[in-house]
Amino acid sequence: MAAITPRRRAGWATANLVVIALALIPVLWLVSLSFKTPAAVLDPSFLPAQWTWGNYHGILTSAQFLRPLANSIGIGLISTFIAVVLASMAAYAIARLRFPGKSVLIGMSLLIAMFPLIALVTPLFTIERALGLFNTWPGLIIPYVTFGLPLGIYTLSAFFREIPWELEKAAKVDGATPFQAFTKVIAPLAAPGMVTTGILVFLACWNDFLLAISFTSTIASRTAPAAMEYFSGGSVFTVPTGPIAAAAVVITIPIIIFVLFFQRQIVAGLTSGAVKG
């Protein structure tokens, strides 16, 4: 590359700053809103004139937010766990074993991955009501697992193809059954891929809004993103803007930390297989 001239340096500095500003300003605005007093919310200045923890105190002592937050965490973790386990089994079979019908399976999960969720909301709503699953944890976990599976199968089989399979053969020579070879040798090697997949599936569950507002009716199973909608009507809060902003920050900050911490895995997962073809 050519020598780094001051002009080039300034150019890249500007580019970097633009990227950072565009990414951060909308987030900082939410944070700022969450610290505004109910009166200051009606002032359009970017930063609050007076800072208050009131909004956070309000939502973090209200079951209207705490219960949905717990639902989000619980439903997200359970769905992620089930989806990763099932997807690992299927992805191993796809990447490694010879059996007929493999392309049908790939086609099917591809179809589901591209599915418009709304197309499933009406029939699933009817089915869930009939089965008594409406407004329960399983009522959300089951669809979340289903939509996590294609993502999981896709990402994991990309990872599984990178594993040195000679090790498996060696295990088999040593007398291990294919099942033992899977659990004892391959699964530990596949752990990083499973972590990445788990992160992506969890983010998808955590982010979901459509299914969460469609299949829940009370805070018994409503997740955090869906619950924010109902702050407005609640009499607990005078002006909902501040509490909603605070709730938005509360459900966002952990994910941002999470994303930054697992940045490498997420990037690897999102791009795995996508460009290798």
Binding site: P26, F99, I118, Q263, T271, V275
Partner: protein, 315 residues
């Protein structure tokens, strides 16, 4: 879909396979059994929770079924389809969805390419820029949407104040612009990541050689990088288009579909939960499904995109 080509060898190592018809060796049969056992749970879940409901939706779409009048159910053939397809609401929702999809995907592609360039080439602070640019991807869509909503509320928001206290969310075109901006902000990092992965496959030597031969930066971009990145670009576009077509969260928070800004997903949702009409709602579901299938088909056939995931079998 190209994934459906029946090749038994997909994913199999290149070694010689035992002949499959006469008889399978003990090991091959065990392998086959294990394969079926391992995929069974995933297949059953996907069939039960995705395939069956779609079939059920087809069934419901051929009947009248209103939750407000549960007794009044009967088979009506394609009457629901006639009702939806002759309704201006459907066509307006489809138009809005297509406008949002085309603009947000096109602009996201350009910005994503620019961002990928910065992430790939910036000469300092690359780690920090990479990390921070991922934030919009990580943020919950609904949370970000509330941020945009308040930012554009007159008397409350800095963006509204910046533009003379304007109230864009009370007007059709401006609402669409705000929705598209929210979509672009949220999805550009994802686009950039996919493009960056494609960009990193472009050999540096090639670019250097072209530079020595006197190619301008623009020529190097259009003549070398773009063609080499084509598979990555097409996959990213396909992902984003299908994703954008089902836009729901941003519209729901920003306008609730008022001022003619409802997408097809919003229409389907409203029909289910406000009109309680399962027959019409299912019809809308099926029509959306058909639209998505057409888009995917067009990409795969028209642009020769490898369907995402087909490389699973390709090895």
């Amino acid at each position: 879909m190209s994934a459906n080509t029946q090749t038994v060898t997909v994913g199999a190592p290149a070694e010689a396979r035992p002949k499959r018809k006469p008889q399978l060796s003990e090991g091959a049969r065990a392998e086959r059994r294990l394969g079926f056992m391992l995929i069974a749970p995933a297949v059953i879940v996907m069939l039960a929770v995705a395939a069956y409901p779609i079939v059920y939706a087809v069934y419901l779409s051929l009947r009248t079924y209103n939750l407000a009048l549960p007794q009044d159910q009967k088979f009506v053939g394609f009457a629901n389809y006639g009702a939806v397809l002759s309704s201006p609401y459907w066509w307006q929702a489809l138009e809005v969805t297509l406008i949002i999809t085309v603009f947000s995907v096109a602009i996201t592609l350009v910005l994503g390419m620019a961002l990928a360039f910065v992430l790939n080439r910036t000469i300092f602070g690359r780690g920090a820029v990479r990390t921070i640019s991922l934030i919009p991807y990580g943020i919950v869509t609904v949370a970000a949407a509330y941020g945009w909503l308040y930012a554009w509320t007159p008397g409350q928001g800095y963006l509204s104040a910046l533009f003379n206290n304007s109230a864009p969310l009370t007007n059709h075109v401006e609402s669409l612009i705000v929705i598209i901006i929210a979509e672009i902000w949220k999805t550009t990092p994802f686009m950039a990541l996919l493009l960056l992965a494609g960009m990193s496959l472009v050999p540096d030597d090639l670019l250097k050689a072209a530079k020595v031969d006197g190619a301008t930066a623009w020529q190097r971009f259009t003549k070398i990088m773009l063609p080499l990145m084509k598979p990555a670009i097409l996959v990213a576009l396909l992902f984003r288009t299908l994703d954008s077509f089902r836009i729901f969260d941003n519209i729901f928070i920003l306008t609730q579909g008022s001022n003619g800004t409802g997408s097809v997903s919003i229409l389907g949702y409203d029909n289910l939960f406000n009109a309680l009409n399962l027959g019409i709602g299912s019809t809308i579901s099926i029509l959306i499904f058909i639209c998505v299938a057409i888009i995917a088909f067009a990409y795969i056939k028209g642009f020769g995109t490898a369907a995402p995931g087909t490389d699973i079998g390709k090895r």
